[in-house]
């Protein structure tokens, strides 16, 4: 397993180099730079912009800038944001926790609902429950996230049950520890519903399809013929096999953590990475964009690796010795 891991990690190096270089190229090829917006402000003189550009090293050729960036990134220095003039790492650090909390909560919400519901409807396909839940699932999937966010916030305005956006109340600092937790949770409910429902439908349908397909498998016929109780058939044989693709999916989700919630973050005023990155891309804040690309691709690669490793636990057919021998 060690050798397999080492090889997988080694493969990431050229991949990451490729991804970052391409991203750097694309950002640099986009017309204009961060200072373009300032140029249309009559009270900011072109001389000032030239000074700023010089200070941020905009004069260097593309390749030099990339290598400089890479060299610093290898030393864990992600550079300075042009817009905020502070270290990119500090900017990200201030927001990463919120995004992770939001993503993990909504993922837990989605998965803990979608999988049981998927199983439930698959066991009774084409029943009324199946039809109703499938309809709701598709409804949730087709409703754009930002729109649902507005609907829920409007409902919050009418009822007063939930705060309208934000991640904490204004008097958060004066609350007790328990109060702080409750306050956080209260602010999380609506965004989690919005983000959760969007992924729910596909997961639920996937589960349903997997189980339905499994129902026709020969080994189930054998199991039932052996006289195993239905509970054992479902839990041991059907579920274990049906869960297989979800492990891979979970790996991908890790990579989606960063950007997936940007719109909801913007609408619901959450202090997350998504909006920060969105703004960075729009204002061509190069190093901030590069940091998000780097972190995003690292998470995706590591997530996939973790998923592959987890698969060996779920699926006994996968074996490292065979994998290592195969290469």
């Amino acid at each position: 397993m060690g050798a397999y891991l080492a090889r997988r990690l080694a493969h990431m190096v050229p991949l990451l180099l490729g991804i970052t270089f391409l991203s750097f190229l694309v950002i640099s090829l986009a017309p204009g730079d961060f200072f373009s917006t300032l140029k249309m402000n009559p009270s900011i003189r072109p001389e000032t912009i030239a000074e700023l550009q010089r200070q941020f090293g905009y004069g260097d050729p593309l390749l030099v800038r990339y290598v400089k960036w890479l060299w610093r990134a290898l030393h864990l220095d992600l550079g300075i944001s042009v817009a905020y003039r502070v270290n990119v790492a500090d900017l990200i650090g201030a927001r990463v926790l919120n995004t992770v909390i939001l993503a993990v909560t909504s993922m837990t919400f989605t998965w803990s609902l979608a999988i049981p519901i998927g199983i439930m409807v698959a066991l009774r396909p084409e029943s009324l429950t199946d039809r109703v839940l499938s309809f709701l699932a598709f409804f949730g999937m087709s409703l754009p996230n930002f729109f649902l966010a507005f609907l829920l916030m409007f409902a919050a305005l009418q009822t007063g049950w939930f705060p309208i956006g934000g991640s904490t109340s204004l008097d958060y600092d004066n609350l007790s520890a328990g109060g702080k937790l409750l306050d956080r949770l209260n602010h999380l409910v609506l965004p989690v519903i919005v983000l959760g429902t969007s992924g729910m439908a596909s997961l639920m349908r996937l589960m349903r399809a997997n189980i339905l397909e499994m129902q026709r498998a020969d080994f189930l016929l054998t199991a039932r013929a052996k006289g195993l109780p239905e509970r054992v058939v479902v839990l041991k044989h059907i579920l274990r096999n049906a869960l297989n693709p979800f492990v891979t999916l979970a790996g991908y989700e890790l990579g989606n953590l960063l950007g997936g919630a940007a719109l909801v973050e913007a609408v619901m005023n959450l202090q997350g990475l998504g909006t920060l990155m969105l703004d960075a891309v729009r204002s061509i804040d190069t190093y901030l964009v590069m940091a998000s690309v780097l972190i995003g691709s690292l998470l995706l690669l590591l997530g996939n690796l973790a998923a592959d490793l987890a698969l060996t636990l779920v699926d006994p057919r996968i074996d490292f010795r065979r994998l290592e021998a195969g290469r």
Binding site: R45, P46, N269
Partner: protein, 577 residues
Amino acid sequence: MKPAARIVGLLAALALLAGCQQPQSEPAATTPASTAALTPAAKREQRLTTGTISDPKTFNPIMVTDSASGVALGDIFEGLVRLNPKTTEVEPLLAERWEYNGDGTVCTFHLRRDVRWHDGRPFTARDVVFTFKTIFDERVPNSTKHVLTIDGKPLKVEQVDDHTVRFVLPQPFAPLLNSIGSEIIPEHILGEALAKSTFAQQWGIDTPPEKLVGTGPYRMTQYVAAQYIRFRRNPDYWKRDEQGQVLPYLEEQTLLIVPNQDTLYLKFLAGQTDIHYPRPEEIGDLQAKSQQLAFAVNEIGIDTGTLFVTFNRNPRHYEAGGKRNPRLHWFTDQHFLQAIAHAIDKKSMILNCFNGYGVPAVADISPENKLFHNPNLKDREYSLDQARRLLAEGGYTDRNGDGVIEDREGTPLEFSLYTNSGNQVREKMCSILKEDWTKLGMKVNYRPLEFTALVETLEHTLDWDAILIGFTGGVEPHNGANLLRSSGNLHLWNPNQPKPGTEWERTIDELVERGARELDVEKRRQLYWQIEEILHRELPMIQTVRERRFNAVRNYVQNYDQHVWGLYRPERISIAQ
């Protein structure tokens, strides 16, 4: 099969119930602000909550280039003078009074003696000298230095005594007072950073707020990125009201950072903010709700900027391979330009883009700039017939019956119209323009472009025909010199000219120079009026419309006296009990 399904079903039902139950269990846990708004009996704190759309980018007042940072720092730092938003005149702040010498080349400022920095140190002339030394330092990129560089020479700031500062100018410079409102910074805190050339990195947004030391009525106490900024009143502020009470009245201010306009609106309706700056489409709704929710909707004035159409008149763009593109002729032809000016449906624009809350724009300087707006200019009436007549007079007619008009040489009138994509107002305006111009028989290719790409097009490739674009406006007209001067980089229709290409541009150049030197306000106003007349006549910028601005203020907020240029005496805002 059944038991499993039952368990799962139960779990799902529980999860759903939990989702619904939670709110009912703690309805009182919503923010205190909303309950305060709904229960007038409760004693209200002297605390004002407002909202803004973006995070500050820096806490260093010299390095500010964005409005969000300006908003965040506005109550912490003070300048020598400040703008009175009611009269648009300059009034004393850290300087008590000032006087010019005979020929207007020396301006002496007498500073207040009762001002202390937030850390208790007295504010003196040394701080003023230090501030301007920083501004003129080549390691500190900022725009003020270029504004205050007159004829290539910087102005000199000298200390006379502890409370007197002398500004020595190479020549009389009228925009001085409007340009030296820059926040004064403490030498005893930042002096070392300037000496070590780390000033540009000082006071970034990662600085703990208590380290920011100003002289203003508030101190920043907390900044949570993308959430809020909190301010607490400075108990030792120098200003007193008529009864001798220390200002400001408010104990605390909170600035919520809400990156989405719709959310900002919902927050106001929910009572989580006290002030709201509505978009046109919200005004009707707000007026309907104002009684019930106890707030007032007030008009605060007309937009101070300018939103205009301009045509590319840059000969360099049209001369390729020894041939001159016929467009240059159209875009400098008065028949064509006048026809376009008559084909701008300002009524529709106001109705469609601003829900009726707008005014036609005539001069490039907004009527809100009371000193410099020329009220005598007559708007060209919207008339497609008049436009057609003008085009026909200029020889633009449909010669081959294809529905598109041609010029005398037979070239069909086809051009592209750009604006920045994503700006809904401008996109709607462009579709109105395109519709009318198409009715005149022109072929208009509408091309919205991402803002940065648009700026590059304007600055470098110069490959555009017509553009709808806007600039924000300030009180000091000289700050628009980059646009007015033929050598300016924002002289969009033909930028960076080595020498003025037309007679009227030469005249404007001269008027701009005279306007900067003329200290007599009345004479100075006449100069800018002349510039507005020339622009109105020659049509390099064809004016469209200006938005009327409103605010909505909760009834318990007192003395919130707002104008488009800012708040009048903000230190007197208070909360009624």
